[in-house]
Structure formats: structure tokens, C-alpha cells
Amino acid sequence: MNWKQTGRASRSLLRISMAEGLQYRASAISGVFVSVFWGIIECVLFTVFYTYSDNGWNNNGLSLEQTISYVWLGQALFLFQRMNIDGELMDKINNGNVGIDLCRPLDLYTHWFVKSSAAKLGTSWIRSVATIGVGLLLPAGYALGAPESPAGFLCFLMSVSMAFILCSAYAMLVTAIRLNVTWGDGPTYILLLVSGILSGTYLPLRLWPDELQTFLYLQPFGGFADIPIQLYVGSLEPASALPGIGLQLMWSMIFIVAGRIIMNRKLHTIIVQGG
């Protein structure tokens, strides 16, 4: 594999997907609309539970303000998890067009890794930035708060980049599995759903039952959103950033290796349907 060539290919792939992302203004606007709306519903719900419920104190060290910040960042980071395999790559597999990609002078894994992560970034960055912007501008009760500390913010940024790689690696693993399954996207769908739930975007992991907390910390999907966001809101100290990011790194490696093995092992036995 030629690194220089791969780098150049990634650059142009990123450029083209950025162009696509900008082209479809309406998509970005309506996307932000959805994220903000969803965020507001979540904020309302958490406010109700924190304020009026019988055990409002039982929040496991995550105050209402922190939870609301969590919601907004969660909306922004959730876009990393959106998979492109249900679009283009899935079509390719279904139509047997995967052959076209096999003809490109790039290693298939690298090619798709770069392509899907570029597509992810290119089409979602506007939406993420705008959602965070709106979150900052909302009236006090529902607004995204400032980071806990400058150090925490720095750790947050590092952890976010790691989360992006982790999400891409996971997406590739799911794609590789999808490649081996000629009958429907059931298994991959379940995988995506489970990862989404365990990432904390639906409900901050801290608010899950206490007895699950150790498991929730160690499982890979917390690295998608929960670890970076907790670093931001301060429910994880900057001191625990290193193990957190280390955990993300470890799971990324595992996903990449597993994805590569599965993809390469089965590549020559793909049953290309139709075509």
C-alpha cells in the first residue's frame, strides 16, 4: 500500500464529500432542525424528571445543567455514528457493484475506511457545528453550558477526535460483517442500534442503573460519545482522561484489526448477486 497515494486519495474524497455536504443546504438545515428539536424534547424530559420526580436527588453525580449540556453535545456527536453503509456501500453490495471498487488501485479496507469517514465528516460537520451553536444560544434553562475547565475542554477535544476514529473503525467492522451476509441488513442494523444505545446518546450512561456502571465504562461504545462528553461537563475529571482515551484507542485497534481480518478473509468469496 502506498501511503502517499492513500493520503492524496483521502484528501480528494474528503473534498468531494464536503462539496456534497455544502451543496445540499436544505439537508443541513433540516438536519439541524431535527437535532435541535430532539434536543429540546430531551431537555424538557430531563427537566421534568429532575424537578418533579420523587427521587430527583438520585442523579449519580450528573446535575441537571450537566445533563442538558450532555444532551446538546450528544446530538452533535451522534452524527459520527451515522453510517454510510446503509446508503452507498449497501447499494454496492446489493447490486454487485462492489466489483468496481475491487478494481481500484487501493486496498479495499483503506479505501472504504477513508471514503466512509470522509463522507461522514463532510456531510455532518455543518450540522454538528450548527447544533452546538443553537445549543449555546438557547435561553438559560436549556442552554449548553461552558466546559468545566480549560483542561477538561482540551481533553474533550482529544477524546472527540478519538471518538471519530473509533466510530469509523466500528462502521468498517459492521460493513465487513455486512459483506459476509448476503441476506438482508438485520444483523448490521442490530449492531448499530446496540452501539447507539450504549453510546449514551439516548440516555447518559451515568443515569443507567448503578450496578451496570463498571460494564458501561469498559464497553467500547461509551467511547463514541459518553467519554468525551463527560470530560466536557466535568463528571469525569481531566485526570481520568488518559485512561478514557486509552480505552477508546484500544477499542479502535480491536475494531480495525477485526474489520480487516473479516473483510480480507471473505473478499475472494463474495457472492456477487445479479450484475
Partner: protein, 263 residues
Amino acid sequence: MISEVKIYGKYLRMHLLSGMEYKGWWLMLIQVFVVVVTDPISTVLLFSRFGNIGEWTVAHIILVYALAVASFGLAESLCRGFDYFPWQLLRTGEFDRLLLRPRSLFVQVAASRFHLHRLVRPATGICAVVWALSELEVPLSPRNIAILVMALAGGCIMYCGVFVLTSGVAFFTVKGLDWIYLFTNASYQVTRCPEPYLPQALKSMFSFLLPMLFISFYPAATVCGWDYPAWPGYLALPAGAAFLGCALLVWRIGVRHYKSTGS
């Protein structure tokens, strides 16, 4: 009309036949089951951590929520094709083919996809409604059953309207269609919040823009005898029909605007 129903049945048979040609269709059942089970998980977990909100227990919320989800699931099963329309039929030009057939477009699009496993969602939704009612010790009297059936039918019609609206708008923009998510999967999330605590703006939006509360909360309140006027509980059908009517209008304008792709 009768022949359209027959065509719909024929299409469904076709989909079932081609579905069986592939292995692993039963995996789809598991898939939807996972979706259905995980859907309310965050609500249940929130209740288990924070306890009840005044009078509102998890059963109250599940009742309202399950009504909404079940009608969504019904619409999704019957009008699955509309759900796929913008991304598959329209983009690939498959819609051309439907226009070339001497049958109602509505039936053809609705039946252009069918997935048996989608029925898992309404089925579990209805089970959840029954569970919640027994938990709240509300009897299943004929009157209550009638109200619930009307709520489900109205909700199904309303969500069909949502799908038709999506497809109608898709004629103008496919990429800018994400907002429709507010009307589909996001819309029933709003029922997770106890109605008395819902901000007024959201209440109005989900009564008048999308008559969500009329197909979930008000019927539930009437059935359980909560402290609300009873009459809104009977309005599910007209509310759903009104929404579908507006959606069909958009659909019609859209068809006239159709630009076929490819050569």
C-alpha cells in the same frame, strides 16, 4: 375500489414470495424485536432511577407511548412503500414504472414494499397497551375498546399521512427531507413526557400541526378517566383523516412536478 384492494393483496403476496427466496428473513423479526424492546428503554430506566412524577407512573407513560408507537407501526406496515419512496422509487426512476400502470398511484406506492416483520412493532405496542391498562386497573369494557381501536385507526391514518407527505415533499427535494423525522420517529418520543408538564408550544404543535395528542394522550385520558374532558378522546379518526387529507394534497402537487431521472 375492490379491484385496488385485490391489487394490494397481489403485491403483498409477491413481496412475501420474494422475501422467502432469501435466507434469513426470520432475522428481520429479531431485528424489529430488538428495536421495539430498546425503544422505550431510556424511559423505563429514567423511571427506575428517579421514581414516579407525582401521579405519573411508568404505566401511564407506557400507555400513551404504546398507543402512539402501535399506530406508527401499523401505518409503517401498511404503507411501507411510502416510507421507501423518496430514497428508492424516486431516485432510481422506478416511479416511472408505476406511472405506466393503469392503477391508483396510492395503492401502487403503498404496496411497492412490504415487510412482514414490521408487524412486530404494532403487535408489541398493543400488548404494551393491554399491560399498562391492567397495571392501571382500567377494565377493557366495550366502550374503552372502541375508543382504543379508534385511536389506533386514527393514528394509523395520521401516520399514513406523514408518509404520504414525505413522499409528496420528496418530489421537490430529496436531500432536504430529514425534517420529516420530526413527524415520524421523533413525534412519538414526545409522548414520553407527561402531558401536564409539556410546554405549551409543544402541546399546540402536537395537537394542531400533527394531531399526535388526539391519537395517544386524549384517548388514554378518556379511557382511564383522568381529569380531562372526555370528548377529545373520540376525535382520533377525524384528526387523522384531516392530516391525511392535507398530505394527499401535497402528494398531488408533487406528482405533477415529477421530474423523471435517467434517460
